[in-house]
């Protein structure tokens, strides 16, 4: 990914920010410029809930090149407490522990390095909630 393209997304990835339609209240992640529910353009930044539950998951054993050193790793779809679904890596757990419905929370992690001289990307991953 090019440096400016990455920078533009930083805010959303670092702080888990999506958008909320001021007209109909629908929330989105990734962010949008047009509400796909009511078509309004009155979308504002919206801080997503950082906790949720796993609705579906898998273990990636044949990863893309940039993720090789993490493999095998878990990924999943998480339904956040505000009802929105998000896709993410699942960390700090063993594959055998993962269950649909498990409570997880967002954590700030390194995502990937672009070669030896490229940028290092950071962002969110999800880990089990200790309650």
């Amino acid at each position: 990914m090019s440096v400016p393209r990455y920078w533009r997304e930083e805010k959303y990835r670092y702080r888990l920010i999506g958008s909320r339609c001021s007209k109909c209240g629908e929330i989105f992640f990734p962010r949008r410029l047009v509400c796909s529910k009511c078509r309004s353009r009155q979308l504002r930044d919206y801080k997503l809930s950082e906790k949720g539950r796993i609705v579906s998951w898998t273990i990636i054993r044949n990863p893309p090149k940039e993720y090789e050193k993490y493999a095998p790793y878990a990924v999943g779809l998480i339904e956040l407490d505000d009802g929105l679904k998000i896709i993410s890596q699942l960390v700090d757990l063993e594959p055998e522990e993962i269950k649909t419905g498990m409570r997880v929370e967002a954590t700030f992690r390194k995502i990937r390095e672009e070669g030896s001289s490229g940028i290092i990307e950071y962002g969110y991953k999800f880990r089990p909630v200790i309650e």
Partner: protein, 411 residues
């Protein structure tokens, strides 16, 4: 909605889909091979110059071969200049969409005869880079960056389907066993060996014996790619091309006494990110595209004699047979296990081996489905012929369902 002029298939050709036999060719040679077969398959009076336009579905020559502008290249290479050539890219549904675009061009009255094809030469890159290229069809910013791959996306669909509908991996394996068996009957298929024969062969060289397919499929010789999907749940990387010739229905009679008619078509889009879907266990695009196609054709799911569906992963076939209305939601896996989708079942699905065994040169898949429809409905499908097939359905999906196209064909 109806097409304002009826459209027929008058010819079809395809190369064998394979990962090795096209090694010394580029997509030009592969596409030409399919084109010549399509032209030779027209019963009478057909000449190259009858082609008025080319609609080409191809996913990513840009990345696979450093070659974009593929439609113009093929028109030049086939010698049909200055006829217009249009490239259509909708990921794995590229040539399925191209068929609809070609049909619409005829229905509009602009052309009477068009050629629609698809081609992909994937094996010039190593597997890692192929995976990266295919991942371009997912949302780069929010799916790929989470480390997702296509097997990963479909694996998540599978775990959701398991959790919601109680389906099991054994049912996925049943799809794989069936499609490999069907592939063994299809000389154009990438894999022409049944799972049982693969088990024997791989077992022999390792001094192992397996009592049946399932024991083999549960063994480490069938490694997990992305839980619950194992190697035999995934379609292979293949090279290949397929071409069909479409004609306005009345003109079609000039070229053949047995044209196959495009009775209905439908297409839908859905969110790029899987996470933005309400229900992970269904492709909404399939349901919508199918409803449109059924309505236009005036048929119901029960009327379909055979279907070729987009089984890029075994779970995808289960989803498709449910979303197309063949079986109630959640019962696609049971139907596969009971043999209802087998070549001799009450609802044969993927008698050609499907993407699983026939292979999946991404951009060629939709056109290869139309090829199968042409052959089956004319009774020319050889060993995998479905007896008395009158109405067929093809279902082609882009990525994880952001594009879906459905076509219904009849005699």
């Amino acid at each position: 909605m109806n097409l304002s002029r009826d459209v027929a298939l008058i010819g079809a050709g395809m190369t064998r889909f394979h990962n090795k036999i096209h090694a010394d060719k580029t997509s030009r040679e592969i596409f030409l091979e399919a084109t010549l077969e399509a032209i030779n398959s027209v019963d009478k009076n057909f000449e190259f110059k009858d082609i008025e336009a080319l609609f080409l579905g191809t996913f990513s020559g840009d990345s696979f071969e450093n070659q974009a502008h593929m439609a113009a290249l093929m028109a030049d290479w086939l010698g049909i200049n200055p006829k217009p050539a249009i490239r259509i890219e909708d990921a794995c549904a590229s040539s399925g969409v191209a068929i609809s675009m070609g049909a619409m061009a005829i229905a509009s009255g602009l052309y009477d005869i068009v050629m629609v094809g698809g081609v992909e030469k994937m094996t010039s890159l190593d597997t890692n880079k192929v995976t990266d290229t295919l991942a371009m069809a997912a949302d780069n910013l929010f799916e790929v960056s989470a480390g997702f791959t296509f097997p990963g996306l479909y694996a998540s669909i599978a775990t959701a389907h398991f959790a919601k509908h109680g389906s099991r991996w054994d049912q996925l394996a049943a799809v794989s066993i069936k499609n490999h068996y069907n592939g063994s009957l299809n000389p154009k298929a990438h894999f022409q060996t049944s799972v049982l024969d693969v088990a024997k062969k791989m077992g022999e060289s390792r001094g192992l014996t397996f009592k049946d397919e399932m024991e083999f499929l549960r063994s480490p010789l069938n490694p997990v790619v992305a839980y619950p999907l194992r190697l035999f749940d995934c379609c292979p990387i293949s090279d290949g091309a397929a071409v069909v010739i479409l004609a306005e229905a009345k003109k079609a009679k000039r070229f053949t006494d047995t044209p196959i008619f495009l009775k209905g078509l439908g297409q839908a889009s859905d969110t790029m990110c899987l996470s933005n879907r309400e229900d992970l266990t269904s492709l909404k695009g399939t349901k919508i595209a199918a409803q449109q196609a059924y309505k236009m054709a005036g048929v119901k799911p029960k009327d379909i004699d055979l279907a070729v569906v987009h089984d890029c992963f075994t779970i995808a076939e289960i989803l498709a047979t449910e979303d197309l209305g063949f079986f109630p939601k959640g019962e696609g896996g049971v139907a596969a296990e009971e043999g209802r989708t087998a070549i001799n079942g009450d609802k044969p699905v993927n008698p050609d081996g499907g993407l699983k065994a026939k292979g999946h040169p991404v951009g060629a898949t939709g056109a290869a489905m139309a090829y199968e429809m042409f052959k089956q409905l004319r009774g020319e499908a050889g060993k995998h012929q479905i007896a008395d097939a009158e109405i067929g359905l093809s279902h082609n999906v882009g990525a994880s369902g952001a594009t879906v196209t459905v076509q219904i064909y009849g005699k």
